[in-house]
């Protein structure tokens, strides 16, 4: 074949590749529920990022007390009512969304950053170090993860950062376990052997040859984990082990509101519903992406 033919082939392959990409996008757009969820998700994420500009009462969102307007129901001034300190609930919910949105993503990313390299190593390098890693994984996974996180928060002292780190600690082994399994099934394949034969280093093979091939299940797992991570943050802060007042956090707001449930129900229900909404749209978004990215798995 002449050089020209190669170029033509390459161009066609590239076009096919782009088509395939567009095809996945179109698959996604065809699912109305997924598109709607993505829009809601975007709305929540953007309002969390731009909270100081979006919230009608940014100061109250950050904790300023406004005793004149205590316990107000929905109204024009306060679209979602006010809480026991007279703070505008919409502003509180927008500010509280920050820890839920970014905390959830933070936990999942940190868990993957710790878990994936360890899994690569444990799968590729059978031997003492790999065995130690996998025993550690089993050990951590055999304890109720929420209890571990609660214990850490209690010992170290409650706070939003402590809560996030306390949740990463029981979370990473899931990634190690997933990646280790994938590596075990890949590492005897011919292309890996070829790479070893060519004298590539261990780390080069791990990150250059193995990692790209196991990225899809890892990303799928990450997508599906954000929802549960958001709930886990809420659980800790509901127990007073997360964000501390006067900062806003949905779990904490539900807890505070539960004291007034039978009169001013909105104080607990509004942040609770916000959490439910965010987790739902994240789950639907993740599920749909999973079906598209990893059609064999679903």
């Amino acid at each position: 074949m002449k050089n020209q033919d190669f170029k033509k082939l390459a161009r066609e392959a590239l076009a096919d590749h782009r088509m395939a990409r567009g095809y996945k996008m179109r698959l996604f757009l065809k699912k109305k529920l997924a598109v709607f969820s993505t829009l809601v998700l975007l709305l929540i994420v953007l309002s969390a990022i731009f909270a100081p500009w979006v919230a009608p009462y940014p100061d109250q969102g950050q904790g300023e007390i406004n005793l004149e307007d205590r316990l107000q129901p929905f109204s024009k001034e306060h679209l979602l009512g006010t809480d026991i300190y007279g703070r505008d609930l919409l502003s509180r919910v927008i500010y509280g969304g920050r820890i839920s949105v970014f905390g959830g993503i933070f936990i999942v990313i940190m868990a993957a950053l710790i878990g994936v390299p360890l899994g690569l190593w444990a799968g590729y390098q059978e031997g003492v170090s790999g065995a130690i890693i996998m025993r550690a994984v089993e050990l951590v996974l055999s304890f109720p993860s929420a209890l571990v996180a609660m214990g850490i928060s209690i010992v170290v002292g409650a706070g939003s950062m402590t809560a996030l780190i306390a949740l990463v600690i029981p979370w990473w082994p899931w990634y190690t376990r997933l990646v280790q399994g994938e590596v075990l099934s890949l590492k005897n394949m011919l292309y890996i052997e070829a790479a070893q034969m060519l004298g590539y280093g261990r780390f080069y093979i791990l990150f250059r040859h193995l990692l790209p091939n196991i990225l899809t299940p890892v990303i799928v797992m990450m997508l599906l984990d954000v929802g549960p991570a958001i709930i886990a943050i809420g659980v800790l802060s509901f127990l007073g082990l997360g964000t501390q007042p006067p900062h806003a956090d949905w779990g904490l707001m539900v807890w505070n509101g539960s004291q007034n449930l039978l009169g001013e129900w909105w104080i607990a229900i509004v942040p609770g519903f916000a959490m439910f909404l965010l987790v739902t749209v994240f789950n639907i978004f993740g599920d749909t992406l999973k079906d598209i990215l990893d059609p064999n798995q679903s």
Partner: protein, 338 residues
Amino acid sequence: MSLILFTFKRLVALVGLLLVLSVLVFFFSRAIPGDVAALYVGGNAKPEQIERARLELGLDKPLSTQYLRYMGKLFQGDMGLSLRTHRPVLKDLAEKIPMSLELVILALAIAVLSGIPIGGIAAIKQDTWVDELIKWFTAAAVSLPIFFLALLLQLVFFDQLGWFPLQGRLDSMLEFTHPIELVTGFSFVDSLVTGNYRALFNVAWHMVLPVAAMALGPLGFIARLTRSSLLEVMKQDYILAARASGVGEGVLYFRYGLRNALSPILTVIGLMVALLMLNTFFVEMIFNWPGIGYYALISITSLDFPALMGVTFTIGTIYVLANTATDILRRMVDPRIK
């Protein structure tokens, strides 16, 4: 490996795991800031009393000695005295555990017994409106934070509709007129064997909301898993062969398909038990149910360290036992697992 050998190995591993757990919890809970001796004698104690309590509880010894002493007593069935209730922790636990297990077992039974058929129906009716409806329902079920769901149930079914009681285990009137005699600690069983039917119905009535709050999440999870697992199995050749030879659809799904789809579902049941044990914390707090979850929360906030050890041991044991039982069950259902 034979099933018996496997079970034996798992049990040995289980004991080792519990030992590790005990070490971790012991040193962990002693790292919590707070003076155990001062907590034991209460707020207005004189310094000498605190010192005496310190000697009495062996707190002057090094931590490792204290741990060994604790473990020695544990094997004799002594978990020490609760710093808060001043009763033996074991007695507290024996009273609280059945209360929680009642909720957990019921919720698990509901979740499994309705989750599997719901998921099965969704798989059979794949891509119809039934499937879509179930998808919505289960997506909502797994996304509801338990504490929010519990409050929502209270708001709707007590405050608005008035169908079910707000909280508690028994009407306070009945506590006096028809108290439940303590036989096993399970209020259902106890009121049944003593023929206390008024209490039985009252307890059942009180249990509806907490059990519903606990069951919904696992139900959605199991239904989703059943659907995807069953759809996976239905792609297999043997199903095609069975269908070709004229086996009815119902038999095909529920006899040939489901059995092979069951293995991943059984795997998560252990996980579900763990989730349910944790959810007792919230549900019992919100519904004022006198179980181990509520007890654990109070122990945490009051730094009641012996009680905390006891609770962690209990929950850890239940968790590990559930996982082991699941593994054994899986092997019995699915002989392909090696």
